[in-house]
Symmetry: C2
Subunit: 360 residues, 2 copies
């Protein structure tokens, strides 16, 4: 099955819809689950892993509507497709890069995915655009219930869900919200805000999660504790802190607009000017310029913006789309061929230029 045809190119979590979606890109919850009677993935034999896959695939076939979800074996999948799924955040880097028998079930609308034989036997995740953790929690709980009715999930009355890594034990939950925080970066308030989060045991990561750097002033905030509190409490903790961060970000944007308008205008317009004229551009640089442009738009600095339906919270869909389409594997899909490093950089900026020219 051709993976390209599965998805419209927007990516559900990048649709720019939902509350505060000019600042909150997406909300995401994942659950770590393991199947009783099988060793954890890092101790499992090839035979164990193959059996697990078969077991889970059977549940998927019986319990999900095949016209709405798609099952992919990762072992047979070309590298470009694996990274394509990674860029869309439908699978993890670990699942993309390991070489054991593994698979993923993906909702056609990209509202959830279930990885099999990642660090844990099952990694369930649900996501949505904007800030809406309740909606995401409802969805992932439903899927979790469905699976637990079909599979013997490792659970201990004392310790809760058992996981391969102790850092996930208990609830096995990670609640993440991806934020665009150029105001806090610009006003040097970011570190102070993040220190506050650390005191609440919340972690801050880059756009591609653990170990990734913060490109384009996009950050993920997530819980670190999984044990000793209920899922609802852990979700509530993130859900309560995010509006504060949004408020800090709005204040920081207001402040820099009042005190550094010339410089803001300058950076936003230059970003557009460079994207429209450059002949080569790395993904990091493109993320940076899109970030600047996004900030400029949200502050109303551009007067020539397209007045189209697909603008939400002031951010044109085009900008959310570009965040995804400029990633290496997406670019190859768009180009219809493999691109080497320098060809990729040349194609990237040509693509951005075309998109911006069509819109402005």
């Amino acid at each position: 099955m051709d993976i390209d045809k599965l998805f419209n190119r927007q990516g559900a979590w990048l649709q720019g819809t939902g509350p505060d979606s000019d600042i909150v890109i997406s909300s995401r919850i994942r659950l770590a689950r393991n199947v009783d009677g099988y060793p954890f993935v890092n101790r499992a034999s090839e035979q164990n892993l193959v059996e697990l896959l078969a077991l889970v695939e059977d549940v998927f076939k019986r319990k999900f509507d095949e016209s709405k979800v798609h099952y992919f074996s990762l072992q047979k999948m070309p590298q470009i497709d694996r990274y394509y799924l990674l860029e869309r955040q439908l699978i993890s880097r670990k699942l993309a890069e390991s070489d054991i028998p593994r698979a993923v079930l993906i909702d056609r609308d990209e509202h959830f995915s279930i990885m099999v034989n990642e660090e844990d036997h099952l990694r369930l995740q649900a996501m949505t655009s904007g800030l809406d953790l309740q909606n995401v929690w409802n969805r992932i709980s439903e899927i979790d219930d469905l699976l637990e009715n079909e599979l013997p999930v490792s659970f201990d009355e004392q310790r809760g869900y058992l996981t391969a890594c102790p850092s996930n034990i208990g609830t096995g939950i990670r609640v993440s919200v991806m934020l665009h925080l150029p105001g806090l970066v610009e006003s040097s308030e970011l570190e102070r805000a993040f220190r506050g989060l650390q005191k609440l045991s919340l972690a801050v990561r880059g756009i591609y999660g653990e170990g990734s750097s913060a490109m384009g002033e996009f950050f993920q905030i997530s819980n670190q504790v999984t044990l000793g509190q209920s899922e609802e409490e852990l979700i509530m903790q993130v859900a309560e802190v995010v509006p504060q961060i949004i408020e800090y970000e709005r204040q920081a944007r207001k402040h820099i607009l009042e005190t550094q308008k010339d410089s803001l205008l300058d950076r936003a317009f230059r970003a557009v000017g460079i994207m429209k004229t450059a002949r080569t551009m790395s993904v990091e640089e493109a993320m940076e310029f899109l970030s600047r442009m996004r900030l400029g738009i949200s502050l109303g600095l551009f007067t020539e913006l397209p007045q189209e339906d697909n603008v939400s919270n002031g951010v044109p869909q085009l900008l959310n789309d570009l965040l995804l389409h400029i990633q290496p594997s997406h670019l190859c899909k768009i180009a219809g061929k493999e691109l080497s490093g320098s060809d990729e950089n040349v194609f990237r900026v040509a693509y951005i230029r075309k998109q911006l020219e069509d819109a402005f």
Copy 2:
């Protein structure tokens, strides 16, 4: 007299004409002379300086055609006008900034100027666009002869012309050629080329002479020795080395065009993109972008260049004009008002944008 009306806005030495004018911006020769019977300027009394001015002004009136030259007393001149002349390289920074009785005689075509009470009593300079030291030498010699027929110039059979600073003694000559060397900068060959010049006792300075940094990859090469060789020998030394530098520069440009065309294109196009979109820009940054654009043009990277008469050696007159017009006092003249630092930067880039939009 209103200084603005004196000059067409091109600046003779920036007309972009003459041999190799894509690389050689201008050729310039200055002579240091002192009048016998008066102490050097740094030891002269106010009375001495006023007398000298009167003496020289009288010679100017008798020997120059008033419709072709203009005499300005610097003491009465507003600061903006003094810096305007400095930016046009018609007077030195010392003459612009000192507060003693001092003056300048300026050729209406800006092919020569004579400073009075600079470091020496008289500083004569002649300049032209492109590489043409013979022409400049003929012109300055003629003026020198004319002055020496009218004034008792300090000259010693043994030591030659006597000057306030020993570094000018002998011939009192400084021969300078201003070059645009982005190829050598880019290919890191600059230092090697300049080490060679130092061995020949030639100095390298920035665009605004002694103590100025090299903005926009423009450099001045000039003699350091003034004693023990004839004027013709000293001129010949510069005249012989410049074609070698031009050749190195052409080779460097050819090499980077062959090996880094994408990056070259990228930098040239970005420069234009930024100049067309930025909202604030320092003079240093503007010089850098004009330099990149100039290199791009000379390598034929732009296909949409205006096909107009005033393009010489491939460089549109517009680019030479901009080098001058973006300087602070020129900008104030263009704006018709004083501009503070941030207003100046905003006005600068708006002016550049307008000029580029009209041309491209």
